[in-house]
Symmetry: C2
Subunit: 608 residues, 2 copies
């Protein structure tokens, strides 16, 4: 039943050699890998204006030079990551680049930040999309958390069905959003050119503004830069592309960068020219759309696709997290299960874990995840900085053809990213200090896990110095509760193995039972030695384990191996189990977990 | 750690032969077995007045003849149960008496009613005691349920420590309560005799009252009879008495009956003479105490001991339930575990089950268990009727010396009990109809359980017609995940048993791994046959079980037994388990529960 539900939800299992069919075309890859970055257009420009507004509306013209700064950073990042894609065509992004060029710790910092960051991406973007929906339909407000969880489950299932299937479904809303924004920007610019809307309402560029300072401008710049989160996703997900994967990934990256640059600058310019000021209840994009179209179909189309893309931004996390997890798991820093492909060839453990953890975050913050945004931005700019720095080191070391230009590009990227990271720490310390706690903790956990895997590897490796068990003979112990068919079965089995010694053990609770049982046994199996362990405290396990320890001590002197053979009957129906004490289960668990004794279970399935 | 906590809470385990020291003297037995019956004095008289009040205060004089009726019923029950004690000196009470004389179904009805009834006793009396406490300290009111649960846990623990220990502790409050009530009644009567309180305030006996009818009087009588619940407890618990158990039990029963009769009639008389009318916020006993002593130390002493005895009434359930459960479990109607004596020689499973179920009731009803009282009274009077009827049949059949008198006593008891049961059904049907549902359900469950035990017995019995497994040879299958120390150990073990065939099985997920592993294996263990099962869907269990099925089909043709030997390593620390997929656990569970294959686990305990 469980398996047919699974079939229904995620589809039939795929063979390993069908993996090729699970690769993405550029068009689909652009849709699912850029939804995070593109969705930031919906809130990035607003973040800049919010900071400037703290001084005065006259300062709004600064949004234009700040946007230019963000665009420069964007170009630097896109070019830098393009170089990373070609240099590391198997993916892995910031983690692999930092680890290989800067060393283990920078790699782990980058990997740990991104791992946490993708969980934040999912939680934050799903919550934002849910907010957009509950704002439109206030009666849904009490169900915010449930709706958000439903979205996470939906996206998780979609990703469990496989990356191509999720891409086919998710491509539509992403491209509709891009289309909607292009129409908005185009019509807006046309209005401005024809003078059909009131424009130029803000103070003109260059107006001196009292109280504006470098610190504030940097804060506005950092806030605007949060629109660039998600730019690194493609570099993690190269293995998902059709061949030639690096070329396709690089082209997709350039396409994403161009779209992002156009939409971002268009929105910033329209906002400035329309004289839009951020208002708590209406978003900047919504104000622009209203001024451009009025409240007609186009307005609702823009609002609807915006809400949708906010939710779907989560999908970028689903594409990048499992692949990053595979890289970390291959290096033994996180559990090995993340390297296992599920029925549909996706890394389903990573997908499920991401879904679960983001639900935990959503529930923990009751859907109010906005104050996680700065944390989430820092979590991206730290690995940005590290990976660009790693590339700098790489070019400097390897000095390939044209390395100076490459070094220059990555240096610019590294410098600006570092700057943004520092600005975040300085200006929003109250919201990001926790990074300084959880990054060391995560790295410690990584190390503990790796240490364990290495220990296990050492111990499992076949070594000449520690030869395996050498067995000269076998002693078999058979705990018997009564004279039954189950015991007879087990006894016949033990006899068929012809060990050197068979000992049947019975644990009576009083002397009368003891004598009675010994007598009955002697009649039934006169050839098999019976040991009775009178248990005045009515425990079966204690005297039994004590006895087994004694036998084992003796046996090991002459390299004899002790096996405990447990007769166990299985009732036909599950509920019957509560009617039996099932000492056999207890005995087995006790013996296996505490002692070095081999345990054989002889099952006897009841038929009625 | 768990075991030292257990030691601390319930004490060191006792040897089975220390059972004699766990027997009760008459004085202690009276305390713990009569707390239920005696506590009813605190509310029984009030129940009568509450019914009469629905007509008019002039009807209160009827409480005197009704009390006489209750006393007659009490005498009949005490004498009847005295005869039961001597006739069934091993205890078992209503269940055994009904089963032996009336047949299986009446026995099960009696047993089922009492089983449920003791759970109700605990829930109702603890809730009533808690109510008394929270009435005195209203700030505790929000914690009613928690306090009630704490009381249940306390009494459960006390009983797990053993019956003598609980009796030693609980005897004090019971005797203090008896003492307090005797002082109250004595001083009250003295006041009346000396005329120092206003008395004779009610309408005199014989005053005609309009609107009084037989139905109402019967209802009042039935309500007053609920004070007699708990009278049967001693007959269930004879095995807890010191030798000669029946004589001691009979004397204890008489003592209890006398105390109950004296206290009950004293309270009824004082209530009538003082002209006390039931008030919602103050109990009748509290009003009598206040009029007798004013609000001084004695008043609070009476109130305190009353609250205490209400809680301790639960203890009667703890004495009788486990012994009734033993009787039902010996007849295979309830799980066998109820016949097992715990560390302190009490039937701890019964004690724990009673505690758990009453907590469930308390939580389910949020501590408001008052409306369970009629249900609880019916649950007592049904077995009363059945056991007395059973005794009638017994005397009639056996006709021992003086049987006519004995028959007469039990007939009176049976008749009045039947009458009370009918009155309950007629007058309080809305509260007791559920008995008609749950009794048949319980009896059905009893039968299902017994049927299962009988089926199991049939199947486990060694029979000539179905001979046990005959084994001509052994095939051992060893699933191997890699070439490791764990596998080498298991392989050495398998070789030492020299079976007819050893098959190592490996499940690779792709063709390259397959070829590589075959090559490595050939170098390492050239003598052992390796089968690789390529798994295109990346499942280990499916191809493995399919293979085992095939081998088993072939093997069974020539009576060969198949054993699957599973190498399993155990990490040193619990949390390490999440780092390993532990396919071995899954494989073992799958094989044991679904197939008839013997499974051997070769443990390998990691040292770091």
């Amino acid at each position: 039943m469980f398996s047919s539900l699974k079939r229904f939800l995620i589809g039939r299992p795929l063979k390993s050699n069908e993996l090729g069919e699970q690769k993405l075309t550029k068009l689909k890859a652009l849709a699912i890998l850029s939804s995070d970055a593109l969705s930031s257009v919906a809130y990035g420009p607003e973040q800049i204006l919010l900071v400037l507004m703290t001084v005065s509306a006259a300062a709004f013209w600064y949004s234009l030079p700040i946007a230019v700064g963000v665009l420069i950073l964007l170009v630097a990042l896109i070019l830098s990551y393009r170089q990373i894609i070609f240099a590391y065509p198997h993916g892995g992004g910031a983690y692999v680049v930092s680890k290989e060029n800067l060393g283990l710790y920078p790699g782990l910092i980058a990997g740990g930040s991104l791992l946490v960051d993708y969980i934040l991406t999912v939680a934050v973007s799903v919550s934002a999309g849910t907010d957009a929906i509950t704002s439109a339909f206030p009666s849904l407000h009490p169900y915010t958390v449930i709706i958000a969880i439903a979205f996470v489950l939906f996206i998780t299932l979609l990703n469990l069905r496989g990356v191509t299937e999720s891409a086919s479904i998710l491509a539509y809303p992403v491209y509709l959003f891009v289309l909607a924004l292009f129409i908005l920007i185009g019509v807006g610019l046309f209005h401005i050119a024809t003078g059909s809307v009131a424009s130029n309402l803000h103070a003109p560029v260059g107006t001196p503004v009292a109280g504006i300072g470098l610190f504030l401008l940097l804060r506005a710049f950092a806030s605007g830069s949060s629109a660039l989160t998600g730019v690194e996703a493609i570099s993690n997900a190269i293995p998902n592309f059709k061949d030639p994967a690096p070329n396709n990934a690089a082209r997709t990256l350039i396409a994403m960068g161009s779209l992002l640059a156009l939409l971002f600058s268009g929105i910033v310019y329209l906002a400035y020219d329309y004289g839009v000021a951020p208002r708590p209840e209406v978003t900047v994009v919504s104000q622009i759309a209203e001024q451009t179209f009025g409240r007609n179909f186009m307005y609702y189309f823009i609002q609807g696709t915006t809400a949708l893309i906010l939710v779907l931004a989560a999908n970028t996390g689903y594409s990048a997290f499992p692949l990053l997890a595979v890289n970390l798991a291959k290096d033994k820093f996180i559990p090995r299960m993340f390297t296992i492909r599920g029925d549909r060839l996706g890394y389903s453990n990573g997908i499920i874990m991401l879904g679960l953890l983001s639900i935990v975050l959503i529930v923990g913050f009751r859907g109010q995840t906005e104050h996680l945004i700065p944390l989430y931005a820092v979590g991206v700019f730290i690995p940005f900085t590290l990976s660009q720095t790693g590339m700098m080191v790489k070019w400097f070391r390897e000095k390939p053809k044209g390395w100076v230009l490459k070094l220059l590009i990555n240096s610019t990227g590294a410098l600006i990213s570092l700057l943004v990271s520092i600005i975040f720490f300085v200006t929003k310390f109250a919201q990001v200090w926790s990074v300084l706690i959880f990054l060391p903790v995560i790295i410690l956990i990584f190390h503990r896990i790796r240490k364990h895997y290495e220990d296990v590897g050492d111990q499992l490796r076949i070594s000449e110095s520690e030869p395996a068990l050498s067995i000269e003979g076998n002693v078999m112990i058979l705990p018997v509760a009564g004279i039954t068919q189950v015991v007879e079965n087990s006894l016949n089995y033990v006899k068929s193995l012809s060990p050197h010694q068979i000992i049947a053990v019975h644990v009576p609770f009083n002397r009368e039972d003891e004598a009675l049982f010994e007598e009955k046994w002697e009649k039934w199996q006169p050839g098999i030695r019976l040991v009775t362990l009178h248990s005045p405290y009515r425990s079966i396990i204690q005297p039994l384990t004590k006895f087994i320890d004694t036998v084992q001590r003796k046996a090991s002197e002459s390299n004899y191996q002790v096996t405990v053979v447990i007769p166990q009957f299985f009732p036909k129906k599950g509920w019957h189990n509560i009617l039996h004490n099932q000492s056999s289960l207890l005995i087995r668990a006790h013996l296996l977990f505490r002692r070095n004794v081999i345990v054989t279970t002889v099952p006897y399935h009841l038929k009625k």
